[in-house]
């Protein structure tokens, strides 16, 4: 029994979520092989070979895989996947895009966003915005699964010594093409991997006021997130959204500022180790999940917090 993990990367660096996915694969048991599909991705393959508990790295290096378009990548994964008991990918926007296409082509159901491996065929995953945890068992010949990174501790990025094998198969469906990309630039840690996250909601009132959070975040070495209300109001870009429809985070410390705590937002952060809420409405639902709540005007409390750090 061997497990194929699709590596998440940007052609120059391996994304951290891959390490959590390898951890899930290691819990299932069996040889773990990493597939690095991309263009000019030799450096990623080298990094992948260093990852602990990986036995083999498969590299498909070709321009058709440059942006991991699902129409081109899925047939490759299907071809390789038939030889494996499990095919795993991190539940990132890439993984979610490609893997269901793979599952359908293999004629098996996919299990989305597992947070726990019970056994090689049984897994736990949240449903209803995290308000229930389902234990599901798969009888599929190839189990196709996306892994919620925050559910698994990452394996070490170094210490492994996997062999690297080139894959020659090229599948170009010719029905889709990459046009452009607009990536938000940030010097702060990446939201999903950060140890501390400071998030703002509608209570921030405008985008400029997020500077208050950035100042606190910089002192803490934290990433900055937002609620859907803040994103919809145009305060910050949508890739900062934490919640059922945004990113799922589980940092050591989550500071929610001016966020009421709607079900959809809680779905994205309630597995954080310590939750702090700063809100002037003491009835706000966020206080029901907060370990430490401060009922105060954020425009006074946040600058004071920054000075205190």
């Amino acid at each position: 029994m061997a497990i194929l993990v699709i590596a998440e990367h940007n052609n120059s660096a391996l994304a951290a979520a891959t390490l959590n996915t390898v951890a899930a694969a290691a819990q299932i048991g069996g040889d773990v092989h990493l597939l690095v599909a991309g263009a000019g991705c030799a450096a990623v393959a080298e990094a992948a070979a260093q990852v602990a508990s990986v036995a083999k790295v498969l590299v498909a290096d070709h321009t058709v895989y440059a942006h991991q378009l699902p129409e081109n990548l899925a047939p490759l994964v299907v071809e390789l996947g038939k030889g494996y008991s499990h095919v795993l990918a991190p539940a990132t926007s890439n993984g979610k895009n490609v893997l269901p296409r793979v599952a359908a082509l293999l004629d098996v159901e996919q299990i989305s966003e597992i947070v726990k491996v019970v056994s090689a065929d049984t897994f736990q995953r949240p449903i209803y915005a995290g308000n229930a945890i389902a234990t599901v068992q798969s009888s599929a010949a190839v189990k196709v699964i996306t892994v919620r990174a925050t559910g698994f501790d990452a394996v070490a990025a170094t210490g492994g010594s996997a062999s690297i094998e080139a894959i020659a198969t090229v599948s170009d469906a010719g029905i889709s093409a990459f046009v452009s990309e607009e990536l938000a630039k940030s010097e702060r840690p990446e939201l999903t991997g950060a140890k501390i996250v400071v998030s703002g909601g509608r209570g921030m009132q405008n985008g400029d006021n997020f500077q208050l959070l950035y100042a606190v975040a910089d002192k803490l070495g934290a990433a900055v997130g937002a609620s859907r209300a803040a994103v919809d109001a145009g305060f910050v870009p949508n890739d900062m959204q934490v919640g059922q429809t945004g990113k799922i985070v589980a940092p050591q410390l989550y500071v929610a500022v001016g966020i009421s705590g709607a079900i959809q937002h809680l779905a994205g952060m309630k597995d954080s180790k310590v939750i702090v809420a700063i809100n002037k409405d003491e009835e706000a639902p966020i206080f029901q999940v907060a370990d430490y709540g401060l009922v105060a005007d954020l425009f006074e409390a946040v600058p004071e917090l920054e000075r205190a750090l």
């Binding site: 269901p100 009888s139 401060l294």
Partner: protein
């Protein structure tokens, strides 16, 4: 062009669901149901394409219980032309739904199929991608902008680091993200008119699709509850607790 929109009947997003005592699932008895929010966005986008003169006909389809007719009527009131209900009493997985939708796609031959990116009950985020795979169509998932130019579709997608634009050959599949549009409300006259629009009911058997599943739900539990927190009185106290009690900063 003809546009097919898939909609799902789900628990209203404001309802806090409860897990059944026997752990067989969540309790849906007497709970308010509604159209999945992402599906509303899909319907809205189709209607806007029609208003721009790009879409000529909008067919809305749902796979679900007889009561899902309510959601199809809502879509008709919002501007869809006719509806198809694939009626099934059992709760189907994404693959079975995708196969049923594929059968409808084969019959209707739409140029564009729009679905929501995920249903807020199962949180699967699979059906659109699976339908694209089964149909052999290109897919534009998590769309925040859709532009049709000739036989090509430009889709701007929400990805983890920002936005990505892809060009797809039609026919294609699009799944909607929250920021694609803001759905309109159905007006009373349109709700009345929608009652007269055609709504066909078919069964999975009639479509020749097997809905057998490889996944079994063993149990459904409530998530572990968080222990009760405390309210602090000042920023100084908060910082002190974070440093010395929680030891997270």
């Amino acid at each position: 062009m003809k546009v097919l929109v898939a909609v799902k009947r789900v628990v209203d997003y404001n309802v806090k669901v409860r897990v059944k005592a026997d752990n067989s699932g969540v309790d849906l008895a007497n709970v308010k149901m509604a159209m999945n929010p992402f599906c509303e966005i899909a319907v809205e986008e189709a209607v806007r394409l029609k208003e721009k003169g790009i879409a000529t006909e909008i067919v809305v389809v749902s796979v679900g219980p007889a009561t899902a007719q309510e959601q199809l009527r809502t879509a008709l009131a919002l501007g869809a032309d006719r509806a198809v209900l694939v009626e099934t009493a059992e709760e189907l997985g994404s693959l079975a739904v995708a196969k049923l939708l594929k059968a409808v796609v084969d019959k209707e031959q739409p140029q564009l199929v729009i679905l929501g990116k995920q249903a807020i009950d199962s949180d699967n985020n699979q059906t659109g991608q699976m339908l694209a795979a089964l149909s052999g169509f290109a897919q534009g998932t998590f769309a925040s902008k859709v532009e049709v130019t000739g036989d090509q579709l430009n889709v701007t997608r929400e990805i983890d680091g920002g936005l990505q634009t892809v060009a797809l050959k039609l026919p294609a599949i699009v799944t909607t993200d929250l920021r694609l549009n803001e759905p309109r409300y159905a007006s009373l006259p349109n709700i009345m008119k929608a009652k007269k629009k055609p709504l066909d009911v078919v069964t999975p058997d009639a479509l020749g699709v097997s809905t057998a599943s490889t996944v079994k739900t063993l149990k459904v539990e409530a998530p572990a509850a968080r222990s009760a927190g405390i309210k602090v009185k000042s920023v100084a106290e908060l910082v002190e607790k974070l440093k010395n009690e929680a030891k997270v900063i």
